[in-house]
Subunit: 264 residues, 2 copies
């Protein structure tokens, strides 16, 4: 059986102690650079693969510095500090010595505590009742996700930018922290829900908080995740969104924010 | 006239090219460490003061690695990449060579573009009609902020964790990016809005997107800001919140997220 294209795209070779070598994938190519989610997934995977890594991802923030060219790249992982129950990492992706993405991340041991999920998933039909959206593009990363849009019409003037979309890997792939990280960049850019015409955009920062551990991801399996997002402001060349990723059984897997550059 | 205690707390001495020396302030002390907001403000200020800094803050993410002791600290700023219209920074605070906080940040030149603020401030009475909350503590950073609580009762079982609070520096101080950064950590920990009893907590990560430029901050002056926040999940020893900071005239100054450790 061939490996899943996502696994090929984030495959890394370890150069101990702290360097990882990878290569961009045509399967996850975007306009001028790899899809940001696959870059995030590869940087997450480098941390996850590190022999010193303990616990599971808790917070992950990635800033995109400049376009990544097709070809080889290096990822450097630095365990900045290890506490008893948590680890702090800094992760950088570079090509020819130029840093093109930088992340900071926290891993932690999850503990049984009092708990309460205050957010609630929207009431939406199950994914099998929602038709997949026609592909927006014939090549690249949009082929690698299936979007079942429940709310929010792309490239239209919606009353707001709130969207509800079932998203899954194509072909289906069991969810893990790398693919969940990548899925957190799969939200339609909010500007395309408020304006009918295409405008050049690019994600500059993505922030993810992981609210569930390995068990919830394993339980979820390869089913679509329910993604919910809304912008708060479009101003002076940047807009944000705030999003939720829910598992099929209603578990809040992650909350995520993004800041996106737009041209005009 | 004496300098404002916030200015004293974030005062830095530059050791060119990229090191800054500061000292913790009793005025902004918290339980076992400085108030996280003043640490964030000092790290922001180091970047702002850097002679190579261009543009204004756009995104700022800070992870707290370990408690900062009372006394001297160093801040190292690294301009990781400068593009035509944006800069990417990495900032670390250390004591005796041990990194205790790490941040990544983006500065950008703000540009006139199509704009739309989708979020709306809640309808609340003006600050002068809202009584200041009695001080929660007799010393430390809580003395340095005045909270006028419109919604959300601390240390009670509220129906949700949503709060609306007018917050201002004590004494009043004209808003700038360092104080706005600090204000983004002034939200009452959400767990104290869902549980009546104190439980040990500590912020581990704070993320801020700045939606307005210098002009909006200058226009705002020293008036209280309206802070709005709500948790999404409390699970496995960590909870989050998602918040807004509004100026007196209804301008969205910042959106912010936080991840907070809690004991049980």
């Amino acid at each position: 059986m061939n490996p899943h294209p996502f696994d090929t795209a984030i495959a890394l070779t370890h150069e101990p102690p702290d360097r990882w070598r990878g290569r961009t994938s045509d399967d996850y190519w975007n306009m001028v650079s790899p899809y940001g989610g696959v870059t995030a997934g590869a940087m997450m995977q480098a941390m996850l693969d590190h022999p010193e890594r303990r616990g599971t991802p808790l917070a992950f923030t990635l800033n995109f510095l400049a376009p990544i060219n097709a070809g080889d790249y290096a990822i450097d992982t630095e365990l900045v500090r290890a506490n008893r129950n948590s680890q702090h990492w800094a992760i950088r992706l570079s090509q020819a010595g130029r840093v093109l993405a930088q992340a900071i991340a926290i891993c932690a041991l999850r503990r049984e505590t009092w708990s309460l999920v205050e957010a609630a998933p929207p009431e939406v039909p199950p994914p099998e009742q929602c038709p997949p959206a026609p592909p927006r593009k014939a090549t690249g990363f949009l082929q690698r996700y299936e979007f079942r849009i429940v709310r929010g019409t792309p490239f239209a003037v919606n009353e707001d930018s709130l969207s509800h979309v079932w998203v899954s890997d194509v072909p289906p792939r069991p969810l893990d922290f790398a693919s969940l990280t990548a899925l957190c960049d799969s939200f339609l850019p909010r500007i395309f829900l408020r304006r009918p015409d295409f405008v050049p955009i690019g994600t500059v920062s993505i922030n993810i908080y992981f609210h569930a551990g390995e068990a919830a991801l394993t339980r979820h399996g390869a089913a679509p995740v329910l993604t919910v997002a809304q912008a708060q402001a479009f101003s002076d060349g940047h807009f944000d969104h705030h999003g939720h990723v829910w598992s099929a059984d209603g578990t809040l897997l992650a909350t995520t924010q993004q800041l996106v550059w737009y041209k005009e």
